[in-house]
Amino acid sequence: MSGDPSMAGGDCVLELSALGKSFPGVRALDEVSMRVLRGSVHVIVGENGAGKSTLMKIIDGIYEPDSGEMRLDGAPYRPSSPTHARSLGISMIFQELNVVPELSVAENIFLGREPMRPGGIFIDDARLNRLAAEYIAEQGLGFSPADPMKSLSVSQAQMVEIVKAISCKAKLVIMDEPTSAITDKEVGYLFEKIAELKRQGVTVIYISHKMDEIFRIADYISVLRDGRHIETRPAAAFNRDSLIELMVGRELGSGYPGQGSSPGPEALRIEGFTRGRAFRGISFSVRKGEILGIAGLMGAGRTEVARAIFGLDPRDSGEVYVEGARADIGCVDDAIGLGIVMVSEDRRKYGIIPMRSVTENANLVGLKYRAGSWWIDEADERAAVREQVERLGIKAPSAETEIAKLSGGNQQKVILAKWLLAGPKVMILDEPTRGIDVGAKYEIYKLMRELCERGIAIVMISSELPELIGMSDRILVMCAGRIAGTFERGEATQVEIMRKATGGIGNA
């Protein structure tokens, strides 16, 4: 059983006992028991697929548990819907914000519980705006209640969600990876707000992957793994490594697999890639068996260049050479035909066909570029997909399972399998480990090394500097649509890269 002696007493706001939940083929939660103390920031960590999201959705009333019970302030708590949960004092702020972009800030804050004029038919707009203005002023936010929601940044929208939670008189606010799409500065601001919520006696359950964040704000940390509750302790009782080990369930090495053999001849070279203001004069080359890292801030033009190479977007000018020969890439089909493939940063939008099976997703490209026939040879397909599933360690109930039912890491592996079945020479990986848990990240790093061994050239775009430094043979830094500098392996440090990326001292 999980030992959390420090929490035996205390003022417990939410108590979970022996919660269980199954989905077809997956036991998502297994006898999870946990106590959350009033006014604390309780961080829940675990790999993707560990059951965090399921647990939160049960607390928020989206799912009903198969077994076990919950108590809120000592009373049995069985929410039937998020609205019900909110009326009982539990508010959830989702990873993807639940806002209506066309409505105003004030309307979003009061969505579904608008103040009404006497008679209850018409919305009391004056009161709605006045109340919203009060809340916004209270929180010291710099926008007006009449602003349309779509004019707000992600971070501002998050603040609106927090205001919404506060205005509901929430006792408990659940935040699901709130920092995945905001800047460092905004993260700081968010944490101030969390501290303030805490002072007001509000409890925060916070889900995150990011180690530094966790230790900055956590009072207590609970670790989930494979749907089980592993440990809950005060934050001070953990350190970074022990936490990762608990999450992954095994000891980790340095975090990056060792470097392989030295790179071979040139695989891909681009010259003078330019499109409007998005990127200008981008030239680089990557050799067989080499990993070229591309660093830069959001909006530096990295993804745009990659998409242009891959034929997804047009370009104004620029040449592509594959293995030294000039190549004409007008569309994605051309690129794949030349052995260039790209794993997108946005898996849900450009990667998976959510309702189709693992097999169909994995073999989507291979049908044409591996098998090459108009007819589907099902035996051959099964064998090819099975090989990839085994090689990449894809965990799925069966090859016929819908890909949407897999965890993020496994989805990403299926997408990698899809591109591997196209027989690539050059792989462009855009944020290949975004939203993936630590264990799966390491497996993807290992795979990248293995691919290099086989002579595949890799271009890796990443916002995680340690990953770039740990994996890349060379790092290219982009800033405002231009190449701001390059580093050979061993030269790069996080500070130097950031300096170039922010346009601090450019010597390129």
């Binding site: 169909e360 894809i394 799925a396 109930p397 069966s398 949407a404």
Partner: protein
């Protein structure tokens, strides 16, 4: 590490998956069993052949519509195009025969005309949809009007009578089995092969499931969409020939609402309006269910108005069943 199948929770989940897959098939069997239980006339050979003949046109149209809906498209013009293609077929045949052409070449040309016009109308719509990224609902709604107008112009608003021996297509049979049932079976088989056995079929699912991902996977989306409409056009053309030859005349005002019957069959059969999901086997079940329900209600002398209500209720039930079995998708 490779633990596919190891995490499969046995028992309830499997049963659910099974039901998920065969649910509509079970419903169909249930309805067949009920029908034969309540009416002695249902299980007669004549009646079974009647049912199959009666569903053949809708089923053929439903094949193409299933592909289109899976692809995230739709077609509202099918009924009008059936009328256009059918009238053109019997009209052309009549004109050619009157001109002294032999029966066989006249048949062939007339059939060709029907298929051609089916393909042409659908192709025109598809090109607009592809070129301007226009919503298929609107474009095919427009095509519905245009095709209906064309058929009135072609026939001058008059029925075409005395269509001659071409009527055998809709009325003749080999042994016991009517041609229309054989043609339906052939088109079902072709559709099934296209969707399950070809790369093209996979692309249809991929485009309907996630168009952006399909583009990013190197699938040339627009050609696939255009080709799907063209295939559907062939089916609609054939359906038109069967329809009008069965009516022993060219009826320009007929075929109204046929597309909705076909869409209904597809949806009852589990094709998702959101795209990416659906099977020909399901559509067959949907079509048979509608046909048998219509038939049994007729055999029981239930009035047409109640039949419509019952059809509506079946659609609602099918949708609820679909949502219940497929569950909330994350």
């Amino acid at each position: 590490m490779p633990d596919i199948a190891q995490r499969t929770g046995k028992g309830r989940a499997d049963l659910k998956a099974l039901y998920n897959k065969y649910g509509i098939f079970c419903v169909m069997l249930l309805i067949l069993a009920t029908a034969s239980g309540i009416s002695p006339a249902f299980l007669t050979r004549t009646n079974i052949i009647n049912v199959l003949t009666q569903i053949s046109v809708v089923t053929i149209v439903a094949c193409g519509i299933t592909m289109l809906i899976i692809e995230g498209m739709t077609d509202l013009s099918a009924g009008s195009v059936v009328a256009l293609a059918g009238c053109l077929c019997v009209g052309t045949n009549k004109a050619l025969a009157a001109g002294g052409m032999g029966a066989a070449p006249a048949f062939a040309l007339a059939l060709g005309c029907a298929v051609l016009v089916g393909v042409a109308v659908n192709l025109a719509g598809a090109l607009i949809i592809a070129r301007y990224d226009a919503p298929p609902f609107i474009v095919t709604l427009a095509a519905m009007q245009v095709a209906r107008g064309l058929v009135y112009i072609y026939t001058n608003g008059q029925q075409i009578y005395d269509i001659g021996r071409i009527a055998a297509i809709g009325q003749g049979r080999i042994g016991m089995v009517p041609y229309s049932v054989l043609i339906m079976a052939a088109i079902l088989a072709a559709s099934w092969v296209i969707l399950r056995k070809t790369r093209f079929g996979r692309y249809i699912y991929a485009i309907g499931g996630n168009k952006a991902a399909a583009v990013a996977s190197g699938i040339k989306v627009n050609p696939v969409i255009v080709k799907t409409f063209a295939i559907h056009g062939v089916f609609v053309g054939v359906a038109g020939v069967l329809y009008m030859t069965r009516l022993n005349s060219g009826q320009p005002a007929e075929g109204v609402g046929l597309e909705f019957d076909a869409i209904t069959a597809a949806i009852i059969g589990g094709t998702s309006m959101a795209g990416g999901l659906g099977t020909i086997a399901g559509t067959i079940c949907g079509s048979v269910i509608i046909g048998v329900v219509n038939n049994i209600l007729n055999l029981l002398f239930v009035q047409a108005y109640y039949q419509q209500i019952i059809k509506g209720l079946i659609i609602v039930l099918a949708v609820i069943l679909d949502i219940k079995t497929k569950g909330k998708r994350s």
